[in-house]
């Protein structure tokens, strides 16, 4: 079902409330990833498919996406990051079928997605595998190992989305260990790379649906040009919102801004 603006607005506000009430950071990278993740779950990821969140620190966006789909309920979100929760700060190892792997240590998800896609191809399974990585995560050597592997094996049943918000844990990616331009570097591995405005639902949808030649077996990569802290003026492109929790005044300001933007 097509993702509506109302659903998007509700999910963003629920994400903010969840992080505010639990006093948890990582909100910046969750806001950069949420739009594409919601679109995937509402319009692309079916029961036969798999979604692997390699950037596990955006678990909040994943939980809210599953809540938006009716897979997680309100009571689960209320417990986010609290004692006895299933919803830890990074995706859990078991208990939620839509979360196949515990992630959070960067550089694992792409290999897990490649293995999933390979297994499904070998089993003639019709499902598609989706994976979302961060951009800083491309500094992990294991991610490049996975890239070599998935390209070599022509895993066309795999789509990778890169949340390219240009900020990582302690600064701008270009100032720390630049991979610019990431799209050009990735194209050298003979994969199908598309650069997409990462908060434009129509553009992301079109990229995911873009037809390809029958003979083209290249895995598809979407580099999502996103904004860390998207939609909240005091968070946008600010490294500190990788970490900071929201106080009440900031939370109310953020909610008001989202109402104005959407």
């Amino acid at each position: 079902m097509k993702l509506s603006i109302d659903t998007l607005r509700a999910a963003r506000k629920r994400l903010l409330r969840m992080h505010f009430e639990s006093g948890v950071g990582h909100i910046g990278g969750n806001l950069s990833a949420l739009d594409a993740m919601l679109l995937l779950f509402h319009e692309f990821v079916g029961g036969e498919d798999r979604f692997i969140l390699s950037k596990g620190h955006s678990a909040g966006a994943l939980y809210v996406s599953l809540w938006s789909m009716g897979i997680l309920d309100e009571a689960e979100l209320e417990l986010f990051h609290k004692d006895g929760t299933r919803l830890a700060g990074h995706p859990p190892a078991s208990g939620i079928a839509e979360i196949p792997f515990a992630t959070g240590s960067l550089g694992h998800g792409l290999s897990l997605a490649a293995g999933t896609a390979l297994a499904r191809r070998m089993s003639s399974h019709p499902g598609h595998t989706y994976c979302m990585t961060s951009d800083g995560e491309w500094q992990e050597g294991s991610t490049w190992e996975a890239l070599i592997f998935l390209s070599h094996h022509r895993l066309s049943n795999l789509t990778v989305l890169i949340d390219h918000n240009r900020l990582q844990g302690f600064g701008f990616t270009d100032n720390i260990a630049s991979m610019s331009r990431l799209d050009e570097r990735l194209r050298g591995f003979d994969i199908d790379v598309l650069c997409v405005p990462g908060h434009d639902l129509d553009a992301i949808r079109a990229a995911l649906l873009r037809p390809r030649d029958r003979e083209d077996q290249r895995p598809r990569f979407l580099i999502l040009e996103t904004v860390k802290g998207h939609g909240v003026s005091f968070m946008e492109n600010k490294m500190e919102w990788h970490y900071l929790p929201l106080d009440e005044a900031k939370y109310l300001q953020a909610v008001a801004e989202l109402d104005r933007v959407l």
């Binding site: 792997f101 240590s105 694992h108 290999s111 999933t116 390979l118 297994a119 089993s123 070599i148 592997f149």
Partner: protein
């Protein structure tokens, strides 16, 4: 043991859900398996981290996934992938490390694996196999292949005694009987001690036990072995593994918790990676005090 491992795997390869990954190793050893498995034999390249995560994902999708490399490249390089992707999810990935212990001898310390099972047994649900003899491999591969959790196979060099029948595979096997100390040797070391132990008089001869599976909780101490420990002149554990995380420490704790205090307790183990000179596996065993001469000194010392 690689030949026997390959034989056992070829026999098992009729299972269409079995997939085998190698980290670009297996020349002059695994070609028959490659032929038997066709596209299910996958050279993952020199990229062990990816190989383990891919194996985990394939196991998650219902495949029987084996991942093979030289031992340290199999467990040390992709340590976090084993921990997070395999063990956190209790996935039945079968890790195979060739040349366990000092098996790669003079190739140097990067190729030695003398802390492998200690490290891996820190993870929940991990089972370790350290076969004693070449003849063990068929049964070990069968058991390991059917396990519904992570497992590690330390492949070494079988040292079967000349002119003597090999007892059929069991996690615990008593190889010699006498009135001497209990000697528990992990893996092929047991075979290397056998001939010398048999030459001793019954009065002096140790009760030599070969241990091929870890952790201890998986199989427990045989009743007869426990009796020998309680009533005999002492226990000596020998393993081609460092002391920390080794079986010697595990057994000592096990006995202490049960109020069992052997008359003597000796632990022969790999010393460290800190040698300035290298040599064959036999040379490095001797340097560590793991050879037969060192064993006899340990069990006959006051």
């Amino acid at each position: 043991m690689r030949t026997q491992f390959c034989d056992a795997m070829v026999a098992r390869a009729v299972n269409p859900k079995m997939v085998f990954f190698t980290g670009d190793l297996g020349f002059m050893a695994l070609e028959r398996l490659q032929t038997a498995m066709c596209s299910r034999f996958i050279n993952a390249g020199v990229a062990e981290q990816n190989m383990i995560s891919v194996s985990a994902a394939m196991a998650r999708e219902g495949f029987e996934a084996w991942a093979y490399s030289i031992a340290p490249f199999c467990y040390a390089r992709p340590f976090e992938q084993i921990r997070n992707d395999v063990c956190f999810h209790n996935l039945p990935v079968k890790l195979v490390g060739n040349g366990g212990g000092y098996g790669y001898g003079v190739m140097g310390p990067t190729h030695h694996a003398i802390e492998d099972y200690g490290v891996l047994l820190a993870f929940s649900n991990m089972t370790v196999f350290v076969p004693i003899f070449d003849e063990d491999l068929y049964r070990v591969v069968e058991i390991m292949g059917n396990l519904n959790g992570p497992a590690y196979l330390r492949l070494g060099r079988g040292e079967s005694p000349q002119g003597r029948d090999i007892p059929s595979y069991s996690p615990w096997r008593q190889l010699t009987s006498g009135n001497g100390m209990v000697v528990i040797a992990v893996g092929p070391l047991a075979g290397s001690y056998l001939a010398s132990c048999l030459m001793l008089s019954v009065e002096a001869r140790p009760n030599l036990w070969a241990l091929a599976e870890l952790p201890l909780s998986r199989n427990g101490l045989p009743v007869e072995l426990l009796r020998q420990i309680v009533e005999g002149p002492g226990v000596c554990v020998a393993e081609e593994h460092v002391a920390r995380g080794g079986f010697g420490a595990e057994l000592a704790l096990h006995l202490a918790e049960r109020g069992i205090h052997p008359a003597r307790y000796r632990h022969l183990h790999a010393r460290s990676h800190q040698y300035e000179r290298y040599g064959s596996q036999s040379y490095l065993r001797a340097q560590s005090g793991l050879d037969t001469k060192a064993l006899l000194s340990a069990i006959f010392a006051d």
